[in-house]
Symmetry: C2
Subunit: 419 residues, 2 copies
């Protein structure tokens, strides 16, 4: 069979499974997700052996250490994957929730109820745990899922997928509800993105290249999980000790994630007092500083020159861009120009400043006096996340179970016709 | 300036206006929308004169009468456009609504609030009233809007747009918040669809060709307002008198709209009793019937042969496809295979049949014992509509003010950092 026919066959089967899955009870879904968790533990050795193949290939190709770390599976990581599935099984089922109910003057009763989206395609890179996390969240929310992982994790993803799908055989969930694209031909993704008849949503998670490719080629709605160029604005009314802690945390605690700070904006009113100590602290933690001319005028040593490109850079590393801004408006304008609508925070004691920042910054998560590192499904109390949406349509910020659903209107009549 | 530069300039200005518009008071938005309504009335003669140019061109090109009708503006139609704007001004402002509020164990207070989407591009055909309706709804919901009408209505659209934009000059709303693409080069739409940096959402309204073109070329999220192949299923448990009225209404009352019935599914248990009278009634109203073999076996005269293609046809005319199905499951399968996820209804006295239909039919609006013609923002009580979404992402069914918004999270801390 040629690739296109294979893809049509796979997505058709997923659509049929999705229609069945939408009618399955919460109890049956929970049993299936729990069965998958047990299977992961039971088959740990097999998964680790397959993962070794990916690690060997990665080493041969001299992949960066960070990438190899993310790729590595061991008993502890597999236990975490299983625990995450068990947590998902415990979450409240969003399907069937009555979101609104109203009666019209003509007697029609209209109910808006939460239903699954249908078939969700997830195109991702690197971390193999995404495979089991996404399968758990999609099945719990009644969706079929088509997975397309990266070449670097192919053996790990296939092993995890096989274990999960085998576990479904003893449950009420059709095994076709989860599918893995094993072709590493980019053409396969291109075909997937054209099958709007069978696939309802595409979620790309990964680097800029992947996201752009998907957004450019998809005829199916896409919710992008794009980069996070997150800002902290230290206002002229900031508690500077608090600002120090927040900036340090947002940059240093885990620099390789999308909710870490990439640019620090400091009000000119406090820059002279704040910057020397802050930049020393960051440098001592190994952070490379790239500053604007005013920053470099205040801290003369060890601050590299920032270029325009730095303002839009997601370093995902111990590097920080620093800019002195004239005032609150300067900070807001900078964020709305160079930010990625992810997460931004202001440190201030002034409530009206805080309100203006909250209202004017056009990002999914806007903070006052807290680290941007809290943008996360677990931290928000959603119990899980499929990622962080940087789009504005359908889902913004942490995407969890509710964001993997849509709604339909049920209308109850007694023979009403339109006049 | 070349076209691309013009388009970038226009969308950039719209983005700047959108950021300002998001901060403007409800009162100021209402004043602006009302001012636009008054301006339409005041400038009726000018608009009608410009409309004449489009009508002359349409006649020269022998456009279908239905199309010329939809294109024609007169004092009454302009009054309706103005009234619709005044109604929009009266609607509750969705912006700022607190959709959820919760406190985390670490003390963070998280609020989910409704905000405008930003810049919305609307690509549409034919009816010039769409121009003022969409401007009103977008401005009221705090969004900037970029309009791209069809060639056939170019003079009408430009005249309406000029009147609306002039009316904004005396208001707090930046005139750049509404933009009209006047180039009739399809390249202009293609460029618009590539400017994801400045435009947040595209809504195409029109024929299949337009929708496909937009879905294929857009890098920006699209909410499709696609065709409605709506079904009525007359079950074996139907009140046949009610079924007659509902089918007649859904097909005949206004056949040219997307919520009209295109295919009637009749259960084999009642087909012999129901079909002769129903088809006679429809034929007497001028409806052409295209039936499956079982339909033609029951009603021998005047029923054309339906082909596979008829099941997916949106006639928008006095034509009806008719199929006898074996049972409820047969009806559901037909709808989920050939339907367009728009509106479908079952006529039945049996509650468990109704429940199964409501649950299994994968459409935006699923009815029991009522005509599909009620799928409409006004009929649903939303006070307005920008159209009917046939997509599942973000908005399903009638799209009104709330569906033109998104949300953001506001997070209030006291110095919280991530452990």
């Amino acid at each position: 069979m040629v690739l296109r026919d294979q893809m049509i066959d796979m997505t058709k089967k997923a659509k049929t499974a999705a229609l069945a899955l939408g009618l399955i009870s919460t109890r049956a879904k929970n049993q299936a997700v729990s069965a998958m968790a047990r299977a992961l533990i039971f088959k740990s050795d097999y998964i680790i052996a397959q993962n070794k193949k990916d690690l060997t290939a990665a080493q041969r190709q001299n992949y960066a250490k960070a990438l190899v770390d993310r790729l590595t599976l061991n008993a502890k990581k597999i236990k975490e994957m299983a625990d995450s599935l068990l947590e998902t099984a415990k979450l409240k089922d969003p399907i069937g929730e009555e979101m609104a109910s109203f009666k019209r003057p003509n007697g029609l009763l209209i109910k808006k109820v939460r239903v699954p989206i249908g078939v969700i395609g997830i195109v991702y890179e690197s971390r193999p745990n995404v495979t089991s996390d996404c399968v758990g969240l999609c099945l719990k929310s009644g969706n079929a899922v088509i997975l397309k992982g990266g070449r670097e994790a192919i053996h790990s993803n296939q092993a995890i997928f096989k274990v999960l799908q085998d576990a479904l055989r003893k449950t009420e969930i059709p095994t076709q509800a989860i599918q893995l694209i094993s072709s590493m031909d980019r053409k396969a993704v291109e075909i997937l993105l054209s099958l709007e008849e069978y696939v309802d949503l595409i979620i790309p998670r990964g680097g800029e290249g992947l996201i752009r490719f998907v957004a450019e080629h998809s005829r199916i709605p896409v919710i992008k999980h794009y980069k996070g160029v997150c800002h902290t604005y230290v206002s002229d009314q900031a508690d500077l000790a608090m600002a120090y802690d927040i900036c340090f945390n947002a940059k240093v605690q885990r620099p390789g994630v999308c909710n870490a700070m990439e640019t620090m904006l400091v009000d000119k009113g406090v820059a002279k007092e704040f910057l020397p100590q802050m930049l020393t602290g960051l440098r001592n933690a190994g952070v490379e500083i790239r500053g604007c001319p005013r920053t470099r005028a205040i801290v003369k040593d060890g601050v590299k020159k920032a270029t325009e490109k730095d303002w839009e850079e997601e370093y995902l590393d111990l590097i920080l861009a620093v800019k002195v801004v004239d005032n609150l408006k300067g900070a807001i304008d900078h964020i709305n120009t160079f930010g990625t609508k992810h997460s931004d925070t202001i440190v201030t004691k002034d409530k009206s400043q805080a309100q203006e920042f909250l209202k004017a910054v056009d990002s999914a998560c806007v903070y006052v006096n807290a680290s941007t590192r809290f943008t996360d499904g677990y931290q928000f109390g959603f119990g899980a996340e499929v990622g962080i949406s940087t789009d504005k349509i359908h889902a913004r910020g942490p995407m969890a179970l509710a964001e993997l659903t849509t709604y339909k209107y049920l209308i109850f009549g007694q023979g009403q016709i339109r006049q």
